[in-house]
């Protein structure tokens, strides 16, 4: 009996020591401080400001040649561009280049570089570094960066801080170098490193933060670069931790408890909770991405323009906006309202079932009488809501919707199959590579380059010609380029290869103690932490 009692007491003591001495989770939403960690020198965490950014997927490619997804949330803190896009002015602002010039035909770009900038390994940023970076990006022909830097024919070092880039054809190189993807400058000391070297959790750029550690599947930690050319002031973040959190419920819990600072995927229909929470702020702005439901124009009855227009009249736009809490709004044309190339006077379809019915009658489908298979991404709630809401008016028209939620990869595999058996409708949200309408118009609607992202299989030579002309003009004449892109969109609106459902919002929920946050839709999913401070 006594023996049992002693064993029990020992067990309780062991459990008590585990619970009692363990580091307590952070639970102070307003303080911005970290919980005290026992057995640590108190100075270690008292002086360190840490921001936690919730990532909804693991980091895959930290090699800048391949970083074309959510990695930019981290890589853009480490690598800086020559030029950045400023959405407020609608112009391009200096980054690592302080000035630039272009010749008359848009094939020679001369950049004047910022002086006194160091890479995180101590190397100097100069014209030679730009040259080695361009060579790094173009070396592997299969890398996404090779596509972006494809127009480059040669890079000439004029002097230490002047570099001339010659293109093989006219291209808006200032726009290209402002890209959110694969455009940051890299230290010449690491350009020969293999992909694995970067993917293990390393970066050497000129940016304010560098990677300190990377625990795959868990977190990536970035720490400040003390010698950053932009300098540091009090109350800025010393470290940024990217926590991999795949479940939105957990992410919301972390935000509410103060364990996280920034979260981008808070469901739009539950944002009132965040708005009502005093420890949180909500920021919403229109991104440059438009949600479009692409219609398979290679398959009857969607090969009939009248049917496609009827579908455009059947979508309940206002209801969808309401369903999403007012955050998803109907677009006018393919280009987002705040981006150059947007056509304010473009025709906009409205929800009008009578008109839809008339068009169907004219097309030879007076009672509808056909099914439409609609595939959508099962983990994208807004797409699921859109499909659900659309099914009701379509049913009134005699059209049965067959919804299929699936992964993006499965959707693409279905599209890749014979057009006669592929799905009828596929939604797409295209996040721009750089701020140029050509990007989305080419990849989503051009058949010239046989881009497999042309989900609607739309093909119009006049459209292709217009966007190609627009691309070339955007190197030197933005106004003329805009006219071309608007003319191209007029074709799209008339032909209606896609029902343009909504401008996708960029919704951020972040801690109320964060100051200075301004979202830049040209850099989706990126928080420029160096621009932020923590309120007292």
């Amino acid at each position: 009996m006594i023996k049992r009692l002693i064993i029990l007491l020992i067990a309780v003591a062991m459990l008590g020591s585990v619970f009692g001495c363990s580091p307590a989770p952070v639970d102070e939403p307003d303080s911005g401080e970290q919980a005290e960690v026992p057995d640590q020198p108190a100075a270690a965490d008292d002086e360190v400001n840490v921001a936690t950014f919730i990532m909804w997927q693991d980091f895959i490619d930290l090699d800048m040649r391949f970083a074309f997804a959510s990695e930019i949330s981290a890589t853009l803190l480490c690598y800086e561009n020559l030029v950045y896009y400023d959405p407020n002015s609608g112009e391009f602002s200096p980054g690592l280049a302080t000035d630039w010039d272009v010749n008359d035909d848009g094939t020679e770009w001369t950049f004047v570089l910022r002086e006194g900038v160091k890479f995180q390994d101590g190397a100097d940023f100069n014209a030679a570094a730009v040259k080695s970076t361009v060579e790094f990006y173009t070396a592997d022909e299969f890398s996404p960066s090779a596509w972006l830097w494809g127009p480059v024919e040669s890079v000439e070092v004029i002097d230490d801080y002047t570099v001339k880039i010659t293109l093989s054809f006219p291209a808006p190189f200032d726009i290209i170098t402002s890209s959110a993807f694969v455009a940051g400058m890299i230290s010449p000391n690491v350009v020969d490193q293999p992909k694995e070297w970067f993917d293990e959790g390393r970066c050497v750029g000129t940016g304010p933060y560098t990677i300190e550690s990377f625990e795959q599947g868990q977190r990536l930690i970035m720490t400040k670069f003390d010698d950053y050319w932009g300098g540091w002031q009090e109350n800025q973040y010393d470290k940024v931790v990217f926590e991999i959190v795949l479940d939105s419920v957990i992410a919301e819990q972390m935000m509410k408890s103060g364990d996280a600072t920034f979260y981008r995927d808070w469901p739009s229909d539950k944002l009132e909770e965040a708005v009502a929470n005093e420890s949180l702020e909500v920021s919403s702005s229109e991104s440059y991405a438009v949600m479009a439901f692409n219609l398979n124009t290679a398959k009857p009855p969607l090969d009939n323009k009248l049917v496609r227009q009827a579908l455009a009249y059947s979508f309940p736009y206002e209801q969808f906006t309401e369903r999403t809490g007012g955050y998803y709004t109907q677009p006018r044309g393919v280009i987002s309202p705040h981006m150059w190339g947007h056509g304010e006077d473009l025709f906009q379809y409205t929800y009008d079932l009578d008109k839809a019915r008339d068009l169907l009658v004219e097309a030879g489908y007076p009672d509808g009488g056909f099914d439409l298979e609609v595939t959508y991404m099962s983990d994208f709630a807004a797409e699921a809501w859109a499909v659900e809401l659309w099914s009701f008016p379509l049913e009134e028209l005699g059209i049965k919707v067959v919804p299929q939620g699936m992964t993006y990869e499965s959707m693409v595999e279905r599209l890749d199959s014979d057009p006669a058996t592929a799905q009828d409708i596929t939604p797409m949200v295209w996040y721009l590579t750089y701020v140029n309408p050509y990007d989305v118009l080419y990849f989503d609607y051009s058949c010239e380059g046989d881009a497999w992202t042309n989900f609607s299989r739309f093909c119009d030579p006049v459209f292709d010609e217009l966007i190609n002309e627009g691309f070339e003009l955007s190197a030197t004449e933005l106004v003329a380029a805009t006219e071309k892109f608007i003319a191209a969109q007029e074709i799209l609106v008339d032909e209606s290869p896609a029902v343009l459902v909504a401008v996708v919002p960029q919704i951020w929920v972040y801690g109320a103690d964060v100051e200075g946050f301004v979202d830049n839709p040209a850099y989706p999913n990126v928080v420029f932490f160096h621009d932020l401070t923590i309120s007292e």
Binding site: F19, V37, I60, P144, I244, Q253
Partner: protein
């Protein structure tokens, strides 16, 4: 003594020969049959010779290789026959048609299926599991990260299952039809039937959000990663922190194991209780147990040394299989508790048509199944000498 001798031999044999050891030590004149000094050597029905055992091991190894190869053939065939475009997935949305064709050739996807399989098998033998189509990382690198994380969690949950489930099963059997028995059985059913995701979220709601007793998820706190990072040696945070004497990280890692470990162990605990109870009750009704009572042996001896050893084998077999299942079956626990494990890795690979990962993980899991089955069989012969190797 004649008839009684045969009777006693028979009864002793039912106990696996153990009971004789205790009979000779029973109190003088105690019990019904008194002190029988006749049985000084335990009877053993394990008549396997060393050569038989060696043959047994070789046969099992050959069978294991056949099973593993069979599994890889099936999964490889299924993964490659499902319509997909690995080259396109590899390159991403901005790939040109020419790049897709060239990448297909580079990845060997244009070769006949059997050739692709043998190339893959050759690489695996050299320790190269190939490259993930989605992450572009060597799969062995991913496995080295995710497998120790999973094994650490699964081992912990199995320790809980064995240390909680089996004693409670014994208690329930020995206190059959009492209130305690009913409570334990209710506990077992609750654990076995409660949905994992619901249980996990409820525990998080109370123990994390409401009472702030335990961390929300992850293997270690952010503070540990920032200020006391664990140096990776084995990938097992518990072991690595002990090896590097990082006691702060050790405590933190143990605390982070508690919630996911409990959730993952819950079904196994329920299973262990029910199986142990059922088998114990069956064994307790056997005549050699009656004989043990008759000889007045200590109850603890009867329950744990005689009865349990005869009853525990089915429970251990099932727990062993549960262990292997958990290696990839714990995906819900991994997602809810932010645990970077193999289940989540494999699930994402399936959704992304990442067939090299699918085949590789199938291979790893099938190897585990084979090893665990083999060990369980060995354990069975060790625990229960009635099971002859031959």
């Amino acid at each position: 003594m004649g008839d009684n001798t045969h009777l006693l031999e028979y009864i002793t044999s039912l106990s696996g020969g153990r009971i004789s050891k205790y009979i000779q030590n029973s109190p003088p004149g105690g019990g019904l049959l008194g002190n029988y000094g006749l049985f000084r050597q335990p009877l053993s029905w394990n008549k396997g010779t060393n050569l038989n055992k060696f043959e047994f091991v070789i046969k099992r190894l050959i069978l294991a290789v056949v099973v593993v190869i069979g599994v890889t053939i099936i999964t490889f065939a299924i993964a490659r026959l499902v319509p997909s475009s690995p080259a396109r997935l590899w390159l991403g949305p901005r790939a040109t048609p020419e790049q897709v064709v060239l990448t297909s050739q580079k990845l060997g996807l244009d070769r006949p299926l059997y050739e692709q399989y043998f190339i893959y098998l050759g690489q695996v033998v050299r320790g190269d599991f190939g490259i993930s189509i989605k992450s572009h990382q060597p799969i062995i690198k991913d496995i080295k990260v995710f497998l120790p994380a999973t094994l650490e969690l699964v081992f912990f949950s199995m320790i809980l299952a064995v240390s909680i489930g089996i004693p409670l099963g014994v208690l329930s059997a020995t206190k059959k039809n009492t209130i305690l028995d009913h409570l334990i059985r209710f506990f077992a059913v609750f654990n076995a039937s409660t949905p994992v995701f619901w249980f996990a979220l409820i525990l998080q709601l109370f123990l994390v959000e409401k009472y702030n007793l335990l961390p929300l998820g992850g293997r270690v706190s952010q503070d540990i990663s920032l200020f006391n990072p664990i140096e990776t040696i084995t990938g097992f945070y518990i072991i690595d922190s002990i090896l590097t004497q990082n006691w702060v990280a050790l405590k933190d890692a143990l605390v982070h194991l508690i919630l996911p470990g409990i959730v993952l162990a819950s079904a196994s605990i329920g299973l262990a209780i029910r199986l142990t109870r059922a088998n114990m009750i069956e064994v307790m009704e056997q005549k050699f147990i009656t004989m043990a009572w008759a000889f007045g042996l200590d109850p603890k001896l009867v329950y744990y040394r005689l009865a349990l050893k005869n009853a525990i084998v089915p429970t251990l077999m099932v727990l062993g299989l549960a262990f292997v299942w958990s290696i990839t079956g714990a995906i819900l626990v991994e997602i809810i508790f932010l645990w970077p494990g193999l289940g989540n890795y494999l699930t994402r690979a399936v959704l992304n048509f990442d067939f090299p990962v699918i085949v590789s993980i199938s291979l790893v899991v099938s190897i585990f199944y084979v090893i665990v089955n083999f060990l369980l069989d060995m354990l069975q012969t060790f625990i229960d000498p009635r099971v002859a190797i031959e």
